[in-house]
Symmetry: C2
Subunit: 418 residues, 2 copies
């Protein structure tokens, strides 16, 4: 842990009155923690000049750095800039570079410049501009007597761009005298403990400065490898990539992606590259798998459609599950999900069909088939694979976990047979 | 606005490092604002004795009240209780009433008492216990020299229960010397501005102490009426109900519920009470409507199932939309959604079917039918109604808004014909 005392300050009446939840601070807290510095405190205050100035005065006495977000837009209640100038005891001056950039953006968008836009270009004298690639209001950096103040807009994607493109490199890494490198692997089909056990032999050999975080979600785990090295030693990407490749060898096909993606997007890319059409036949998930597939732009290229066969009548009459199967094995059975796949292949015009039938709960279970019993099947005209899940009692969670497991089963099926 | 200076303090390392987002503060901020007091600041700090004590010492000098959450569980890093005792300069003493309640709860759950449970019963001497109906750790109330400190557990549903059951009545309302009464109407099918215009004649006649808030969401608006009266005047529920009934007369069927519900739950109750079976035939929403209907426990009583007819082949071969219609009018047309309803009624075993076909985007539009053109239809064997939406360019938003509009159309159809 680094000893720098850093706090995050978010400005905005809308946070105090609970109109919006302050996710910026959580994001910045996570990013700072990744570099080995946990924030000392997170403080949300109003768009109030006096309060902003008092907060900065008080923090500048005890802190090495304050990361501030919010209050930099063109509307009149955004008084952060004026407050910072008063705190710094400097005048506001016109920043030509900021103005030229805004003019350029507005020309491209064919929008007229308003007076309030020009007002945005008056910033505290001596402040260093942090480029905002996602908007017009720039970030600002100010250093004085060992205290560093960074001010960024409150719009999350603008704040994140400024942090990642400027603040991390210019301020944080030099401050902690470290380089940092990081990669996140997305895993489906294995739980956190299983992944930990599998990776243990590699993790025990990691050099100092490396750390692994497991971030579990519904039906997936994000595994994040972070390496921090001394600033003067330069980059460590070759060594880092070596360890990532060891992780990849161990986790193999359980890794469905890296960084910020999701299973449905990955499936979309797989379907496009293999020129495959897919379809769904769902019972207990009620259209969730179809809806996730359809959420991806361009899904109509590979998702032909689906059936939500909630009643046995639909399973029989449209999907073609036999009376015999439903009577002998029941709607929640391996036989039924197999016949659902076959029915889907017959009528949906898909190369591969995924089917799901289960008891989502909270009621409807029996001793033999308790709530949480879910059958999945994936098949094409040559192969069909099935899987049984034994989940819990919570309906919403059962539906989401089943949909996630179904999408992952479809992914593995494509990897195996195509 | 009330002049009491109140801040919210949340305790927890996991908030600072961004592992969890602090939603407690947003909730408390909203509740305080409803009573006319906006919080001065929201401060998140670590589970650190020194930091908790310093924060309390500093705030107690300038504030009327601090609402604190977090750090009251049985685990050893929860050091809030000890820190409060040191701040108050009182010893920890054993609270028999707290212990007996925990013993009672554990006996009912058939769980053994651990030492750490007993440790939870040592609280700062002189603190007033706030009953926690949802968990074992009680809330605490302390008053000294005009400063009030309230400490509640960080588990959101426990914190909310303590606030609503004890803090509001015991502390907040006496402090502001007010009574407060509130009701939220949920509106679909009308925008915020339209609702404002409709309600204006009533709102202009509201007595002082009444306020209206419009809280827009995707395809719905929450309209919240709040009345605050002097504490000594007692309750004002008859007058309040009078104004609510005026709102209800004006907004009529646009109101789908009150408080915390959603369209799919309301539809479920309607279907059960009218003994109706419903089904879906979706194109651009890709299963979203079906998934929302299926999300409600007990949905299998009234939701028979659905079709996701993404391709024209499925629209023709399974749903039975005619070649002629698809060729002359196209897949996104009033004629197609009508035939989708008829096809659904034929094969889904439902009394009422809802259908949707549109261009969700971001690409795929034409001059005649731009991205965001969505057709909806609802029908039974006697009536069919259609509606065209002209939405924007954003795929995700188009899908969610179309699904919401479809569910609301189904609701209005049931109210009209059953």
């Amino acid at each position: 842990m680094n000893n720098n005392k850093i706090s995050i300050v978010t400005i905005g009446h809308e946070i105090l009155i609970g109109q919006i939840v302050d996710t910026n601070s959580a994001w910045l807290g996570e990013k700072l923690t990744e570099t080995g510095m946990s924030p000392y405190s997170i403080i949300s205050i109003a768009d109030d000049e006096q309060q902003i100035i008092e907060t900065l005065q008080s923090l500048s006495q005890t802190h090495d750095m304050v990361l501030m977000t919010g209050g930099l837009g063109p509307t009149k209640d955004d008084i952060t800039v004026r407050s910072i100038a008063k705190f710094l005891d400097v005048p506001l001056v016109f920043f030509e570079e900021v103005y030229e950039r805004i003019v350029h953006i507005f020309q491209k968008l064919n929008r007229p410049l308003s007076d309030s836009t020009k007002a945005q270009c008056f910033l505290p004298e001596g402040v260093e501009i942090l480029h905002n690639s996602m908007g017009t209001a720039p970030g600002m950096l100010f250093r004085k007597d060992g205290f560093t103040l960074i001010s960024m807009p409150g719009v999350p994607y603008e704040m994140k761009a400024i942090y990642l493109e400027s603040v991390l490199e210019k301020v944080i890494l030099p401050l902690i005298q470290k380089n940092i490198i990081q990669k996140t692997l997305l895993i489906a089909g294995k739980g956190e403990t299983e992944i930990e056990d599998l990776l243990e032999p590699v993790i025990s050999t990691l050099p100092s400065g490396y750390s692994v975080a497991y971030l579990p979600g519904l039906g997936q785990v994000r595994v994040r490898l972070t390496a921090v090295s001394d600033y003067k030693n330069g980059e460590l990407s070759a060594e880092f990539e070596h360890y990532i490749s060891l992780f990849e060898n161990i986790l193999g096909n359980s890794i469905f992606g890296t960084g910020d993606t999701n299973l449905e997007k990955v499936l979309g890319q797989l379907c496009v590259s293999h020129q495959l059409k897919i379809g769904t036949v769902e019972s207990c998930t009620g259209g969730n798998v179809a809806a996730r597939l359809a959420s991806v732009p361009g899904a109509s290229e590979y998702f032909t459609g689906g059936l939500v066969a909630y009643t046995n009548d639909i399973k029989k009459n449209i999907v073609g599950v036999s009376d015999h199967t439903l009577e002998i094995y029941g709607a929640v059975s391996e036989e039924t999900v197999k016949e659902m796949v076959n029915g889907g292949l017959r009528i949906l015009g898909s190369d591969i069909v995924i089917s799901i039938s289960g008891i989502a709960g909270p009621t409807g279970g029996s001793e033999e088939k308790p709530v949480g019993t879910i059958w999945l099947a994936v098949g094409n005209k040559n192969h069909t694979e099935t899987k049984k899940l034994n989940l819990g009692k919570k309906r919403e969670q059962n539906i989401l976990l089943s949909a996630q497991a179904a999408l992952n089963m479809l992914r593995l099926f494509i990897l195996r047979y195509y």
